[in-house]
């Protein structure tokens, strides 16, 4: 599959300037709501520190916690499966579906199943999964991937949703009222919940000491599915573990405030045992996570709780849209997770950042995202995954900047060219000229000015 790189895809996204501005402002508004929620808690920084240390500790003893979780979950009557990679994960789920002759499947939000491309895998076997989170339902009808891990349809306007629903649900043409549109989806999906015989959910937190797992939603779709269907499959990455129930106090205080500025999601559901007569499965997935655990510079990306605060604050994400990251997890965190999954295919992503550091500042578990972006750039260049033009440019720049004489001479030439022949730089061949005016060149350098005026 050949995909556009981030810069090219972003260029397409920003062609519609009004829509780009709207996207930018909408996500900034979510960031602002996060700030308001955060500022109500004097202990916010203490919470971040606790969360970070709990996750660091868990990762440092992860094999122990995985075994403990498995043992407790099994004794609670939950069937535990292990999947090394996406293929393994998809095969396990398909087997459960086939063994039980399942026809109707509903799924609530799970970025892991997106990462594993479960829907496509099952579709190829003639099995259809229905995504029930409203945002995911919308993008599924449109045959698009989600563009944001918390707000899957944030790239769409109400007119787009209205047209999609008119086509698929036969809603009124031209009715753009969000209440009407969401109500129509509710009505349609209720029937699907009721007839469903298997529900797939994600996992926000898995508790090692009790074998329980917690799923957070605002819509109630995970619960409608899980409690209606005869079989519940919960899919989790190995990094979802936390040691104790009391640690949920820390994470549930951080998650929704960071994600949407709510003090907590509407529903925080704690699954301990299947209900009588129900089958409950957990699929524990590695898919590259244990490899990331071994990369000292990058392992703490595994602390991520998928709140997307780093997306909403990122000036590049807000103005390039989630699809330009060509990955399930976009944004700054995606840019440090995806090179681990496929360095070559995702070699552009660590460069899709200004390294401003805002992502690290809002991260509720204190991942040093911008530093990892910078470190990935070095790894990617060393591995030879950077394009030749950029590499030659950087090498040339390094030579100029490390030789004071060369630097002074090139500065002089540059200023002269820009003054006398501005078209030499103000043209399309110069990528720095794209969407900006080049500055007026000064008469002399600061160094010359300082020598004369000191």
């Amino acid at each position: 599959m050949s995909l556009k790189n981030h810069a090219d895809a972003a260029q397409e996204f920003i062609r519609d300037e009004a829509r780009t501005d709207w996207h930018d402002e909408t996500l900034w508004f979510v960031r602002h709501k996060r700030d308001k929620a955060v500022n109500t808690l004097p202990e916010w920084e203490i919470l971040r520190d606790w969360a970070s240390r709990i996750k660091n500790h868990t990762l440092s003893n992860l094999d122990y916690y995985l075994r403990s979780f498995e043992e407790k979950a099994a004794s609670n009557g939950i069937i535990v499966h292990w999947a090394s990679d996406a293929e393994d994960h998809n095969r396990i789920i398909h087997k459960i579906i086939a063994d039980n002759k399942i026809e109707h499947i509903v799924k609530s939000k799970s970025m892991l199943t997106e990462e594993c491309h479960l829907n496509e895998y099952l579709q190829n076997k003639g099995i259809k999964i229905l995504d029930t989170d409203l945002g995911e339902y919308i993008v599924q009808l449109r045959k698009e991937p989600p563009s944001h891990i918390v707000l899957p349809a944030i790239h769409l306007k109400r007119q787009d949703v209205s047209e999609t629903f008119h086509e698929h649900l036969n809603t009124e043409k031209g009715n753009y009222d969000p209440q009407y549109l969401a109500g129509s989806a509710r009505h349609h999906l209720r029937e699907r919940f009721i007839e469903s015989d298997l529900a797939i959910t994600g996992v926000n937190f898995a508790i090692a000491e009790s074998g329980s797992f917690v799923v957070c939603t605002n819509e109630g779709n995970a619960d409608m599915g899980a409690h209606s269907a005869g079989i519940h499959i919960a899919c989790m990455g190995i990094e979802k573990l936390i040691p104790k129930t009391e640690h949920l106090g820390v994470f549930l205080r951080l998650l929704a405030r960071s994600a949407t500025g709510q003090p907590i999601t509407t529903y925080s559901s704690h699954f301990n045992k299947p209900r009588p007569g129900q089958q409950m499965h957990i699929v524990i997935v590695d898919n590259g996570r244990s490899r990331q655990l071994g990369r000292a510079d990058f392992r703490n990306s595994l602390k991520c709780i998928r709140c997307a605060a780093c997306f909403n604050t990122c000036p590049v994400y807000r103005r390039s849209g989630g699809h330009s990251y060509h990955s399930t997890v976009a944004g700054p965190i995606g840019s440090i997770l995806n090179p681990n999954l496929d360095m070559k295919a995702n070699s552009d992503l660590p460069f899709a950042s200004t390294l401003c550091g805002s992502c690290s500042n809002v991260c509720p578990v204190k991942i040093d995202i911008h530093e990892q972006l910078w470190k990935w750039r070095q790894v990617i260049v060393a591995e030879g995954y950077v394009d030749k033009g950029k590499k030659a440019g950087m090498q040339g720049m390094a030579w100029v900047l490390s030789n004071p004489r060369v630097y002074r001479i090139s500065g002089k030439i540059g200023r002269w060219v820009m003054r006398i022949f501005p078209f030499m730089v103000n043209n399309r061949l110069n990528v720095w000229y794209k969407q900006r005016e080049m500055p007026k060149a000064p008469e002399k350098s600061f160094r010359d000015w300082f020598k004369e005026n000191k």
């Binding site: 440092s60 393994d88 409203l134 779709n221 409690h227 106090g249 003090p263 590695d286």
Partner: protein, 197 residues
């Protein structure tokens, strides 16, 4: 010999994990204490779209029950008899028409308006979600400051299932416009009354 996925994963994790680091002490002297936790609880829940009755709430609750009963809609009242077997085994298609469900929450949290309901109180896991309107009765004395205190109070793993509910279901997936009534209950009424009811 081919190792199972389980062995492969556990072995890779054991090999790649960093040196053991310590867990932090969660010191509750460092977390927020509200001057008026009940007031904080009410304002958080109302901000989330819930309706809270505090003054004269015992009488209001009886009126609520009488009104819904008079409308003749399908309602389930778990306030007196939460262990009712009759409700426990109802399937989704039998509960589809459920209009209003009344149940008691174990405790409430001031910082976010969340209320803990365990499987014991709901008898059937679907009830608080599939009903169109959810009515929760909560004793105001049970309201604690934060989630940390909440987890000290409850035994989250004591029953097969338990949930914190902090409002009616909602979504903002269409242009970030808030719509109350996504897939779960479309409205939430909360009566803060003591255990006497």
């Amino acid at each position: 010999m081919i190792m199972s996925s389980r062995e492969t994963i556990l072995q890779a994790v054991a090999l790649n994990k960093p040196d053991l680091s310590d867990l932090p002490d969660i010191d509750l002297r460092l977390t927020i204490q509200y001057q008026d936790p009940i007031n904080q609880f009410v304002s958080m829940l109302e901000a989330a779209g819930g309706k809270v009755y505090y003054q004269n709430s015992g009488v209001e609750l009886l009126n609520d029950l009488a009104e819904v009963k008079a409308e003749g809609k399908f309602m389930i009242n778990l306030l007196e008899n939460s262990g009712n077997e009759e409700w426990a085994n109802l399937k989704a298609y039998e509960l589809e028409a459920l209009d209003t469900c009344y149940l008691r929450a174990e405790m409430g949290v001031a910082e976010n308006g969340a209320m803990w309901i365990s499987e014991k109180q709901m008898s059937n896991r679907l009830l608080p979600f599939i009903c169109q309107h959810l009515v929760i009765v909560l004793s105001p004395e049970t309201i604690v400051n934060t989630m940390h205190e909440a987890y000290q109070q409850i035994d989250a793993a004591a029953n097969g299932f338990g949930v914190f509910i902090a409002g009616p279901s909602k979504t903002a997936d269409i242009e970030q416009n808030l719509v109350i009534g996504a897939h779960g209950a479309r409205s939430l009424r909360v009566y803060l009354v003591g255990d006497e009811i």
